[in-house]
Structures are given as C-alpha cells and as structure tokens.
Symmetry: C2
Subunit: 383 residues, 2 copies
C-alpha cells in the first residue's frame, strides 16, 4: 500500500460522530437539518426524466459555469472559463491544492483552527504544510499580522476558511485589507485560497478575498448554503490558466460532477437562490448566542458559519472529553484537537440541530464540566 | 503550479470529440444513447423529496455497499466492508491506484491498448507505469503470456480492462487461468486490478478475475451498464484492509458519492437490474459486425464493450486521420494513438450511435481511406 495513504489518519471528526446513538443529542456533524428547497430538485428531476444523465464537459456544464461566475462577479473571474464545477468543495479544495502546489518546492500555510482536510490533502500529494495559530486570548479572531508572520520562505499559498469552521470567526474587511496589502508588498505571488463554504452564513460584515486580491482562488459549494450536503456539488473560481490545470486533476480524479447535481445548481444560480436560507441563519444565531450566554460556559461569539465553540475546564483533553460526553451525557460534540493544537481544550458544537437540542446539549456539557472540575478538585485521577 | 499536473496532457479523446459539429456523425465518446430506466430515477426522486440529500458515510450507504457485494459474490469480497462507493469508476480507479501503489517503489503494468487515464492517474501520484502491448496480428487478443512477459521487477499491480476499451477484446477463461496460475506461482503478491466497466456488455464467455484470483481489486460503475454516465456512481470491490485505505483517498478527494446517485444504485442492485440492457447489446452487436463486414475495412470483432475498431491504410497517422475525418467527412472517431503506441493506425468507433449513423460513418471512413490511398499512390505529400 501507499505509505502516504496508510500514514494519514482517518477522520477524527467522523470517528467521534460515528459513536452517536439513536438517543444522542447530536451537535457533531456540519450538516444543516434544514431540508432542501424541493423546487431545485424538481427542476433537475424534470431534466433527467427528459434527457437522462449524460456526461457534461469535465469542467462542468458551460451554462452553469457562466451562471456561477456571473453570480459572484469577482474581478477577473467573471467568465465561464474561471469556473470548474467539482464534486463538492472537498474535491474543489483537493484539485486546487494538487494543481497549485509543487511538492518539490512549495509549502502550504494553513490558518488554524482549521478543518483538518487541508493538511491531509496536502500530505496525500507530498506537499509540506505549516500552520499558523490564531490566538485563544483573542477568541481566535482572524488576524492578518499573525498570518503574515506565519509565512515561510517556501510558502506558495495560504488557505483560509472564512467564516471559519470550527471557530465561526470571519475575517473583517479591515483585516482583509491588511492581509492583502502585505501580500501585494510581497509581489502578489502568494496565492490566497479562500474556502468560502460558509459565505451565506455570515452575520457581520463580509470580506470576499477574491474582491480584494487578484491572486485569489475561491472554493465553495451548495452543501451549507442550500442544505445540499449529499449532493456533492461545488466549484473552484480562479484564473482561466489555473482552472485549466485544476480541471485536469478533476478530470482524472472524477471525470465530471453528477449531471443531476449540476441541474440542481443551475436552478439555484439562475433563480438567485444561493442565499435562500441566510435570513433563517441570521435569526437563529441570535437565539444561539442567548443560549450560550445563559449556559455560563466560555464561548466564541460566531461571526458566521453554524458552529459555536465552548471552552472546557483548563487542562481537559478535548478528545477525552468528547468521548466521555457521549458515554456519560449522550451528547455528540467535536473535540477541538481535530482542528489543530491551538484549539485543544475546546469543543465545536453544531447549532443546526433543533434549538431545544442545543439548549439541552449545553446544559449537559455544563453538568459534565462541573463534574470534571469537582473530580479534579477532589484529586480523582484523570482517566 | 504543480509540474506533475502541468506535464499531463489533457484528454486527447475529449479534445477530438469536442470538435464535433451539430451535423457530425458522432462515433466518438463512450456514452450509450440509450436512456436510463426512469424507474430507478423515480425511486431516488421519491427518496430525496422525503429525506433531502444528506451525506452518507464516506464509503457509501451501508445498505448499498452490502447490495453491491452480494450481487457479485466474489470469493472473500462478499461483505459491505469489501465495497467503497465512489464518484464513478474514474474515482474508483484513482483511489485504487493512489491507495495501492507506493511511488517510491512500485510500478504499475498497463495492458495496452488501454484507456489513457490509468497511466495519467499513476503519473499524477508520481507512480511509474510500464505498458505491455497486445499484438496487432492477433487482433489485440488479451494474451496472458504477453502480460506475464511484461512484468518488471517493481511491478506491483496489473491493470486490465476486460472487455477492453478500445479494442472490445475480453480475456477468455482459458487465458484468465493461464494469467492467474502464473501470478500464483509468483506468490500472488501482484495485484490484478480488473476494470470491469463493460462487464454487462460481454458477448462471449466472461472471465471475472476476482472469481479466480484472490489478490484482485474490481472497479466498476453504472455508467455503461445502465446508461447512467453522468450519474457518477461507481465502486471498488477489494479486501476489507484495502478498502479501508482506498476509502481514505476517496474521503479526502470527494468525501462521499452523491446521495441521489446512491439511491438510484440501490434501486438497481436491489431490483437486480444491472444487466437490464445486456440483451439489447447482444442483439445490436450482430448488426454491427454485419455492417463492419460489409464495409470491407479491416476490423476487430468485438467480444464485448460497445466499440469497434477499424484499421486505417498503412502508414496513416490516426490523429491526423481523425482530424481530417471531422473536417472532410464530418465523422467523429477516436484516434488509436490515444490508447497507446501499439494502437497507432487504428480508429475507435463507438457503436452506441444509431445503426444508420454507424453505417453512414463507416461508408465515409471507407471513402476517406480510398482517397488517402489514392493520394499516397499519386505521391501527394502527406500533410
């Protein structure tokens, strides 16, 4: 077997989440409980009944590519040739990293806390990744100076998820300008890869990096915005030259995205429905913040995405806590350590679960933390 | 950019096929003109209307994995754990090659003529590929002795497409036994990767290598069997240990296959409908062979798949001929050179086009060949 593959650990997030029982309060996986708008599915159904499900071009249906490009209107990325339609944002990121980075020379800089797949995808291709940690004392705010300080000699690209999974922090316009000016002073050769998958769940100001910095690649999907996780429909927005190379990786890895999924996407973009759940999220986050305040736990107030993160008692292993939470309290939460060393001691909770589940989950986490503190105080050995 | 990606040429097949005009007789792409059975789509539609399209487990819906394993009943590969559901057979092959081969040590042996993606996928991961050519004088019959002779010291796996794209040749049971015995004498350490995508278009005896040789990985999809190319639904059948590693690659590259597509697949497997078009193909191939005989062209009689291959006049460049055929005769055919040096001088024709198109296409190819021979005879310089 390929030692690079054997050496990559399987997903800690999915491993923890898979322990869920029928009875569990599931604050684990990043999947909206909202149901998708059936109108989009119906449009695709009508199409496939009439036309079957034939291959599209590797880079996707030309009409869909054009619709995506003109929806975002990022400067210089406004044409169909600037889009490659992929199997979710997962493949979009995979093809981007593989096409962009030369394993012999380049290094990827990952802004942490971060979804673990960036580093693993890079590892799969033998690309070195370095990480730069945002600061706990600043509630992991996305800080341009810290990112710049993390750049190494071989850094060819920076991957930034904003709004961020797991922290819910989004880069502010002011910080985005600081970051972009610094990169421009360096000649603009470092590529910014903006993982925008939570773009439609952004509750404060939004900074689209592709609006500000020419050397940006944006990666996105319909999974979160339109509650279509299992549809596996994403895309890459980038220069035509880059898209040509990324499309090769995409073509050899998967050929093309599912035609049914592409028709769903076309209906969404042509109907300008990408943001159809944005108001629901904006309203919901207020209730979430209220529940977090009420819990008394230390938490990070979300700028975006649909996670909230809470701090465990000092010195607690987040993996240990997550496993015990399932065993003792029947609550599924994701351990911070899955998102980088700097996020140890935190738990990520998904708040797309019903509000009563979130409230009950928070109450049980409080109970768990209290018990843990009591045990520590009594000198009970930490298992 | 990644030089490994830049260095890989884009698909010659798609490049030639994309020159097709509205008026063209298209014998190019390997896509059945049959429409899919709407009953399968309806079952999936009913599901997604009710349940949305949520993520499945990375390796696929457990019910589907079990249904696939028990449909094929290959010895030792009969459980759900022996299946990873992928984004078409393209990703199945990609994940297989990445998980199986160590770029530092292993070499892949490709039996040619072959679909070009095997070599390109290996190249993307930095894995060396060697090729072994079947013999033109034997009409490219799949010959076990030749394959064995092609094995090098570092050969870790052999990839064999049977029935074969492009030649339509399938390995006979007798040849399969010769191959398997030789591999067993070598200790059974070399893995056979059987690309079975044309398994349901097999008009003579069928040899399923996974039935005969324990160290076999089978790769397949619904694209050809059920006219669902654009659905992007395939799978890998292999040892549980191997599937675990291949699933990692699949998980990091695409996460999981489309849930809609998985529901279509479940309906097909549970309804035992994988072979639903087999009779149509068996009938059609007789008419195809009659048309080929009538044309007077040298051709390879297909054992399976839905291609027929015809020989160009001696010394003709197949790429040159394919481009001129589009320009001068408005016929799209794929140049043999796309499938390896040994197939230069041949054209691959897809016979899933309407019969009258195939007949007219063959007539125009005859006209083209006659003109070319006349030009050569007259000493006209070959452009």
């Amino acid at each position: 077997m390929n030692p690079k593959v054997v050496g990559i650990s399987s997903s800690l997030i999915r491993n923890v989440a898979s322990r869920k029982r029928e009875s569990s309060i599931d604050l684990g996986l990043g999947e909206p409980l909202l149901t998708p708008n059936v109108a989009h599915l119906d449009a695709a159904i009508e199409y496939v009944r009439k036309h079957g499900v034939r291959y599209t071009q590797n880079a996707g249906d030309p009409q869909l590519r054009a619709a995506i490009a003109s929806h975002y209107r990022y400067p210089g990325l406004e044409q169909a040739e600037n889009v490659c339609v992929t199997v979710g944002s997962q493949e979009a990121m995979y093809a981007t990293l593989l096409a962009l980075l030369d394993p012999a020379r380049d290094e990827l800089l990952v802004v942490e806390p971060a979804f673990p797949s960036y580093v693993k995808m890079a590892a799969l291709d033998g690309v070195a990744a370095r990480t730069v940690a945002m600061a706990e004392e600043e509630d992991f705010a996305i800080d341009a100076e810290r990112i710049i300080a993390g750049i190494g000699e071989r850094t060819r690209a920076i991957v930034l998820c904003s709004p961020c999974n797991p922290t819910g922090r989004a880069i502010s316009t002011a910080q985005a300008h600081v970051l972009v000016r610094a990169l421009e002073r360096r000649g603009g050769t470092i590529t910014l890869i903006h993982d925008e998958i939570y773009r439609e769940q952004n509750f404060r100001e939004r900074a689209d990096l592709a609006q500000l910095y020419a050397n940006t690649i944006a990666v996105n999907s319909l999974s979160k915005s339109n509650a279509l996780t299992g549809l596996r429909l994403g895309w890459i927005l980038g220069s035509a030259e880059f898209i040509e190379q990324a499309t090769k990786v995409h073509a050899w890895a998967t050929s093309c995205a599912d035609t049914f999924a592409q028709r769903v996407a076309l209906h969404i973009f042509e109907g300008n429905a990408v943001g159809e759940y944005a108001a629901w999220y904006r309203e919901r986050v207020q209730a979430v913040i209220a529940a977090l305040r009420e819990s008394g736990l230390r938490f990070i107030e979300p700028d975006g995405a649909f996670y909230c993160c809470v701090k465990l008692p000092d010195g607690t292993s987040s993996l240990d806590a997550a496993l015990k939470l399932i065993d003792e309290q029947d609550v599924v939460a994701i351990p911070g350590i899955a998102f980088g060393e700097c996020f140890e001691g935190w738990l990520r909770l998904s708040w797309v679960a019903p509000m009563e589940s979130l409230r009950e989950g928070l109450a049980r986490i409080v109970k768990f933390c209290d018990a843990h503190r009591a045990q520590s105080a009594a000198g009970t050995p930490h298992k």
